[in-house]
């Protein structure tokens, strides 16, 4: 059987930068976009040579705003992928899409190029919340994009949502959630806001602008929203399978699951990260340098056995399934309990971990305090 590989393609363009976003993206001019697509193709073909024997099971176009790519540009990229790798017939091919950047024709074009899963960045159904976030769309725009995606034939759609936003209340969150559930997407990602250093949000918060009617929900309110989300989605038939991800049966995102189970992935494009066996790599992060030579400026880090085991543990704990003792033993020829027996016992006693003998997973409270638990799985 051929070795599997997942591909991530980064598209660093946006119409404009959102106020909370710290991803590698910016509002680059049109000419840069087409140059970038050319450079990315070159990287796919050149870099891909080393992995030509692999079978690609997942392709993910992330950003930035990949939906700014025209169907023709996307086709060029997919063609490069097909000509370089063996693409599995059942491969999950996801495209991130921002409301207002795609109409039905464009969406059909992507489908024809092979995209079979759409991830729409809604964030909120409340226009005032979207405005504070700096999103370019409103509720209406989203509803139109969602409808056109269905018309274009997408049957596997994710909707991204955010909570713990400035000014958000439990009430407004419930209303967002109900409206989205009425649309019956196959998958939901719900992230609670993180104030990342270097973003406008971080700065505004430092200036004390998130107070009064724009107050960021307290830790207590944040957790109440999180708990409500889990319960409400379960009732609607969505199972939680990771800290922030929920899906209808069989609709879990294979690509993201791959990250959490440490499958091999090749990141292509500006700043993209890869995990290839024991090597973690990340691409050049300066756009002009990348355009000049998309193969240069890549940094590689060899992961020690210890690094790999630690990652296995803390990434595995993000999933609701948890860490498998058997899988760990087969990968590292070592027992989970020999390394973390004491940590597991302690956290089980504190009510943060569940241990069924084979799997070790976070409890409800453990999900709230994931970092606290995961930090204990780092080895000395």
């Amino acid at each position: 059987m051929k070795k599997e590989l997942m591909l991530y393609l980064h598209v660093p363009f946006c119409v404009r930068k959102c106020h909370y976003c710290d991803f590698l993206s910016a509002a680059h001019p049109m000419e840069k976009r087409s140059l970038y697509v050319k450079a990315l193709q070159r990287e796919i073909r050149e870099r891909g040579k080393e992995y030509s024997g692999r079978i690609v099971t997942s392709v993910f176009f992330g950003g930035g705003t990949p939906s700014l790519l025209s169907p023709a540009q996307l086709l060029e990229l997919m063609t490069a992928i097909r000509e370089t790798f063996e693409l599995s017939e059942t491969a999950e091919i996801t495209m991130e899409c921002n409301p207002g950047t795609a109409e039905e024709g464009k969406l059909r074009g992507w489908r024809e190029a092979g995209v079979n899963r759409l991830s729409i960045g809604l964030q909120s159904m409340k226009d005032e919340e979207l405005k504070i976030l700096g999103r370019i769309h409103d509720r209406e725009t989203f509803l139109r994009t969602y409808e056109q995606a269905r018309l274009a034939g997408f049957t596997n759609v994710n909707v991204d949502l955010m909570n713990a936003l400035p000014g958000q209340t439990m009430q407004s969150w419930k209303e967002t959630l109900e409206e989205v559930l009425a649309l019956e997407p196959e998958h939901l990602s719900v992230y609670s806001l993180i104030l990342e250093e270097g973003t406008e949000f971080f700065e505004w918060n430092g200036q004390g602008r998130f107070t009064g009617s724009l107050a960021i929900p307290s830790e207590e309110e944040d957790r109440a929203m999180y708990a409500y989300t889990g319960e409400r989605l379960a009732r609607a038939g969505y199972a939680q399978y990771e800290i922030s991800n929920y899906a209808k049966a069989g609709r879990e995102c294979q690509h993201n699951l791959g990250y959490w189970t440490r499958k091999d992935y090749l990141g292509l494009g500006l700043g993209a990260a890869s995990l290839l066996g024991s090597v973690r790599a990340s691409n050049e992060t300066d756009l002009d340098r990348y355009l000049a030579d998309p193969l240069a400026g890549r940094r590689e880090e060899i992961l020690s056995r210890k690094d790999q085991m630690e990652e296995f543990a803390f990434l595995g704990l993000r999933t609701i399934r948890g860490i498998s003792r058997r899988e760990f033993y087969s990968l590292y020829d070592e027992n989970v309990d020999a390394l973390w027996g004491e940590v597991i016992r302690r956290n089980v006693a504190d009510g943060l971990l569940l241990d069924d003998g084979e799997f070790i997973r976070l409890t409800k409270r453990g999900l709230d305090l994931g970092n606290y638990v995961m930090a204990q799985f780092l080895l000395d």
Partner: protein, 605 residues
């Protein structure tokens, strides 16, 4: 070389308030006497410890010898003896002054006289030194040399009309300073043929030479082979080498004779044998009596010092041992704390001395430390007639066994511009000061005299003084003695467990206030845990204040995509590292800096 004409020697020091330019003037004198070229000069030759340079103060007295060709055509030997400028080192200052025949008083042309200037000048005059003033920083826009000259004449009562107006920083007026050193500082007197009588004013430990004794020869002479006797400590050794001080190096010579300043080495292994202020004499032909003024140095401030990582205890012990080789005023003995494990109770001359040692341990010996709140030495009179000197609050006997307690009192002088007199008096009042009087100096400035309990000034008094006078107040103090006082031990309970390292002694009247602030402070310092943590302050088992650290509710990263893994891991590592720097008390983890919380309770500013 050995026959030096005493009339061609000038032994002097420079006295000044911190920042008035003492070290810079010393550098210029060394530079312009041509001992070193500009290229060889480090920025500040006399201060050769990194730490000193950063703090802008001189910690240990040192000396340098230079040769100056005066306008009269003669060559003069200058021995410049540097003195520490801080009140913690008053005794060392007095010994350095005793090694001199005169002093240069440096006064900042903009700032004028400050409390420390006065204290140092009076100390110099007490030692019968001839003092001549120099007005520095005359190139500052705010300089008022004439006003400062009048101030010196009015306040100190020394002639200042022909004081050189200089800028040490920019090399202005240095020639005049050099000439005045020759003219105004008297040459040493002393019979070179009398029995040896030399004053120790400093010593350093060198791993090759052993202890190097810095001394001023008052009478007689010393050379290689002389069997010397330290009159106070009784140590006897044969001299291996004598010499004088080049800039930053020791230059051996044949003999040191009356009037000279230099060093002696004699394979002395223990710095304790060479006490500053002691008299060195010839063991076979001793002088009749030692020089006056020798005092045994006493620790004024104590605190517990513990390694953050318990396994580093031996490293801490070795580091303290090495530091003590060079600093006989540092005291330490092992102690054990329930909260902190094995460590040391250390004694210091004052809070600055404490901070310097702490920083040197961390910087030069790479140790991560937990320091407990500093305290003074209390005298505890027990009902059975016994009196104990208490340096660690944990050792306070049961209240039923205590008859009464005494605390050390200092007499302090604060110099401040008149607009801040009110707020400084208020501060002294809050710190249980006893007002003794006030003198006005030239209308705009006042000298306040107070008696203050030492334990009220070792915490944050200096900071409070500065912030309440916008930096204009300066302070100097002397030990006065012990007085009976109503003192209690304040205990801190974290999650119902008493944390011994957080206990401190406080005056009964301020116990409630301190306890409340301490709880508030600790509430901010202790991170949220899985459970709620009560923090209580108690006196003799009675709780007087309480705060609560709420249970942790959220500690999770919502998003973790492929590229984020390295960053995510760094975050977890940081979290884990943070835990290592905590101390486990019961099931609560307390960060290191929480143990110093008591130091920062004056948050009204």
């Amino acid at each position: 070389m050995s026959q030096i004409d005493q009339s061609k020697i000038r032994n002097f020091c420079i006295v000044a308030h911190i920042d008035h330019g003492k070290s810079t003037l010393a550098d210029r004198i060394i530079e312009q006497t041509g001992l070193l070229t500009s290229r060889e000069m480090q920025a500040q030759v006399l201060d050769n410890m990194d730490l000193e340079r950063e703090r802008g103060i001189t910690i240990k007295a040192q000396a340098v010898r230079t040769v100056y060709k005066a306008k009269d055509g003669e060559e003069y030997i200058f021995n410049l003896i540097d003195t520490p400028g801080h009140v913690d080192f008053n005794y060392e200052v007095s010994r350095s002054l005793a090694a001199c025949d005169g002093a240069i008083l440096v006064v900042d042309a903009a700032q004028g006289i400050e409390a420390q200037t006065l204290a140092n000048v009076y100390l110099a005059l007490d030692h019968d030194l001839d003092v001549f003033p120099v007005i520095n920083k005359i190139d500052l826009p705010s300089a008022e040399p004439q006003r400062v000259i009048e101030e010196i004449e009015d306040v100190i009562g020394i002639e200042a009309q022909d004081a050189p107006l200089i800028s040490a920083k920019n090399g202005i007026g240095i020639d005049e300073v050099l000439e005045q050193i020759v003219q105004k500082i008297p040459a040493p007197k002393g019979d070179a043929n009398a029995p040896l009588k030399a004053l120790i004013f400093d010593c350093v430990y060198d791993s090759y030479k052993g202890v190097i004794v810095f001394c001023r020869i008052m009478e007689g002479s010393v050379k290689k082979g002389t069997e010397i006797l330290m009159m106070a400590t009784g140590a006897r050794e044969e001299v291996v080498e004598v010499g004088y001080f080049g800039a930053g190096q020791f230059i051996p010579c044949e003999e040191l004779s009356a009037g000279m300043v230099g060093y002696i080495t004699a394979s002395i292994k223990n710095v304790k044998d060479t006490a500053v202020g002691d008299t060195v004499t010839d063991a076979k032909n001793p002088c009749a009596e030692p020089l006056p003024g020798y005092k045994k140095v006493l620790s004024m401030v104590y605190c517990g010092i513990y390694p953050a990582d318990g396994a580093k205890y031996p490293d801490l012990r070795d580091a303290l041992e090495k530091l003590q080789l060079n600093d006989a005023s540092l005291f330490y003995e092992p102690e054990t704390s329930i909260a902190l494990g094995f460590g040391f109770r250390c004694g210091f001359l004052g809070l600055l001395h404490l901070e310097i040692i702490q920083e040197r341990l961390e910087r030069e010996y790479n140790l991560d430390l937990v320091t407990t709140a500093p305290g003074v030495v209390y005298k505890v009179h027990k009902t059975n007639g016994e009196c104990i000197e208490l340096t660690n609050p944990s050792n306070l006997p049961d209240p039923s066994e205590i008859e009464f307690m005494e605390e050390p009192i200092v007499s302090g002088e604060i110099m401040v511009t008149s607009e801040y007199v009110g707020s400084i008096m208020e501060l002294c009042q809050e710190r249980r000061g006893r007002y003794l009087g006030m003198e006005y100096i030239e209308g705009t400035r006042a000298l306040l005299k107070y008696e203050l309990p030492l334990n009220e000034i070792i915490y944050d008094f200096f900071d409070a003084l500065k912030s309440r006078s916008r930096g204009y107040a300066s302070f100097d103090y002397d030990m006065k003695g012990y007085e009976q006082s109503k003192l209690v031990k304040l205990d801190i309970l974290i999650n119902k467990e008493e944390v011994d390292a957080l206990s401190f002694i406080v005056h009964a009247d301020s116990a409630y206030e301190r306890g409340r602030k301490m709880c508030e402070k600790l509430k901010d310092e202790i991170p949220r845990h899985l459970f709620e943590i009560p923090i209580q302050a108690a006196i003799g088992g009675k709780v007087i204040a309480r705060e609560t650290v709420k249970a942790m509710r959220k500690d999770v990263l919502a998003k973790c995509y492929g590229g984020d893994i390295t960053r995510k891991k760094k975050l977890l590592e940081k979290q884990k590292e943070g835990k290592k720097r905590m101390r486990q008390v019961g099931n609560v983890e307390i960060p290191q800096k929480a143990f110093m919380s008591v130091l920062k309770l004056d948050d009204r500013d």
